[in-house]
Structure formats: C-alpha cells, structure tokens
C-alpha cells in the first residue's frame, strides 16, 4: 500500500486505469440488465492497473484478471478520476508492476460518478443480469435463487 500519494503528471488524462469487478459487486440493474454497485469504487485507495505500464510490458488489459479469473474488468480514464477530486498515482508492487492508486475520499456521488464513467473491458459490453445471476450461482455467491426475482 502506498504511503505517499501524489498525482503523477506523467499519467495522462486519457490513460485507461483497469479496475477488476468482483461478482459480489454486480447487482440487478432492473429491466434484465446488470449493474456495477457503487461499492466497487468506494475504497479511498482504489487499486487499479495502469494501461501504459501493462502495454510497455507487452501485457493486454485482460492480463489484469490473471489472478482473479472470475472477476470482470472495467476501465476508467485518469482524467475522470481527477475531475472527481482523486489523485492518480503509480504504486508498483512485486505482484503487479502496473499497480496504481486512485486515491481520495469518495462520497456517494463520486463513487457513482466513477462507476458511471467506467467502461467494460471484459466482457466488452455490460452482461445481462441473467448471465451474472447464473455465474454467481455457479460460484455460490448469490443470495437470490435461480428463477427468483
């Protein structure tokens, strides 16, 4: 975990920051759609992977899921984070050289703003709630039984 947080100007606003989404944070969005809970973007120190570092290492975005293959993957632009009063900084760790942080207090409004600005990477479009529900059931992390709304 980073101890000093600074906004790194070498990270351009358009840089994509990859954030994994655990299926526990996928919820019923209504109308057959799934939604990412704002809780997925709540942590003051929000871990992300920096696309530029991954690309330099020859890694594609999906490699962010290498240790968490059941997760989904979204991206958010560094500039969006900054406009929501967040600091974007690298924080390479042995396990993940592309690791970085989106650091800052995240009010509910900011959590939602980050969530709404996030774009799907894996899968490349929002999955249906049915897909999510089935996957959750397979993994045993759903509270809703199949066929139950």
């Amino acid at each position: 975990m980073a101890t000093d947080h600074f906004d790194d100007p070498n990270i351009p606003d358009e840089e994509r920051l990859f954030r994994r989404i655990n299926l526990a944070h996928m919820v019923d969005g209504g109308g057959g759609e799934s939604a990412v809970s704002s809780a997925a973007f709540r942590a003051p120190e929000l871990s992300v992977n920096l696309e530029s570092v991954m690309r330099t290492a020859g890694r594609g975005p999906e490699d962010s899921l290498k240790d968490n293959p059941n997760d989904l993957l979204t991206s958010i632009a560094a500039g969006v984070c900054r406009r929501n009063l967040q600091i974007v900084c690298p924080d390479p760790i042995p396990k993940e050289p592309a690791h970085g942080y989106v650091f800052g207090n995240k009010s509910k409004r900011i959590q939602r703003a980050l969530r709404d600005a996030a774009r799907w990477v894996v899968p490349d479009a929002a999955p249906s709630w049915e897909e999510i529900r089935l996957r959750k059931a397979q993994l045993g992390i759903t509270g809703r039984e199949l066929g139950e709304d």
Binding site: D28, A43, I141
Partner: protein, 172 residues
C-alpha cells in the same frame, strides 16, 4: 409453513418487523452446517427473540437473508484487493433496518459487501435507485437518485426511517 435456512447466530437480536402483529407462528431457521436456531415468536417479549415472523412473511426476506449469509462466508481478501471479511454486526444492523423499513411487498434488495467489512443494500428499478451503506467505521448512510438526474438525496440513516420508507415505496 416454509422452513428457512439460517446460519447466523443472531438469536439475541430483537426484530419487530412491520408485518408482525397479533398471534404468530414459530419459524425455525436451520442449516445442516450450523447449529439449529429455533425461534419462537413471542410478540410480547422484548428478549430473547431472534425473528418474530408471521405468515405470510414477505417475499423479500428469504433471498435477503441468504444474501447476507453468503456475504458472511466471503473470505478475507475476497476481492483480491485486500478487502476484509464482512462483519456480522454490520450485516445484522443492515437486516434490522430492512425489517423496520420494508413492507411485505417491497422488492428484494441487492446486498453487496464493502471492502472495509461493511455492507451495502441497494435497489435499481425503473430508473430509480436507492443505496443504503453500513460502513465499518462510519455512520450508516443512504442515497436516492434517479437515472435522469432529476432528483438526488443523501442522508444518514437514523431511527426516523420515513424518508427511506418513502423512497422504497416508489420502487414497487
């Protein structure tokens, strides 16, 4: 009467659900993996009573309890980002608030973990959204917002649940 499966040692909790009044029947929450929790409805008693449930119990209750049970089974670092395990006390607090605010025909909420050990319950229906969070080290809070951005409201969860109840009522 249906028998629920229940894994939480919440036998010291006091619930006075909105749907309860008058005589009631006992419901036992059982699970092969945990000790049986027998619950006898005692509307007149202040303690002990884990659940005072009466028929017809609300449709949202079973999936919601199961969702809390599932959250409590998440391991340390369940998100791979260092999240801590969900605290039973916070799950219990969230369930107690739900019992207070939910009508029989209220839609089931989604229940999600917070990385600090808290929980969040939320609904998203027809462009209307409610989130109630129970963080580990902050007071519970709620927010209501509409997809079209016309209305947005945030506040702390207090013993006066009227506003939250009103928002949930809009979801039906």
């Amino acid at each position: 009467m249906a028998t629920y499966t229940h894994a939480l040692p919440w036998t010291n909790s006091l619930f006075q659900p909105k749907w309860g009044s008058g005589g009631s029947e006992a419901i036992a929450f059982t699970d092969p993996d945990v000790a049986r929790v027998s619950v006898t409805a005692r509307p007149e008693a202040r303690r002990p009573a884990a659940y005072t449930l009466e028929t017809p119990f609300p449709a949202w209750l079973k999936p919601t309890i199961q969702a809390f049970i599932d959250l409590l089974q998440l391991p340390q670092n369940w998100d791979g980002y260092g999240a801590v395990q969900v605290r039973e006390q916070l799950a219990q607090q969230a369930l107690m608030v739900l019992v207070e605010v939910m009508e029989n025909d209220a839609p089931s909420p989604s229940v999600v973990p917070l990385s600090d050990g808290g929980v969040q319950i939320e609904w998203h229906r027809r462009g209307l959204n409610i989130e109630i969070e129970f963080p580990a080290d902050e007071a519970p809070g709620y927010c209501y917002y509409e997809d079209d951005g016309d209305l947005e409201s945030e506040g702390r969860v207090s013993r006066n649940y009227e506003r939250i109840q009103a928002y949930i009522a809009t979801l039906k």
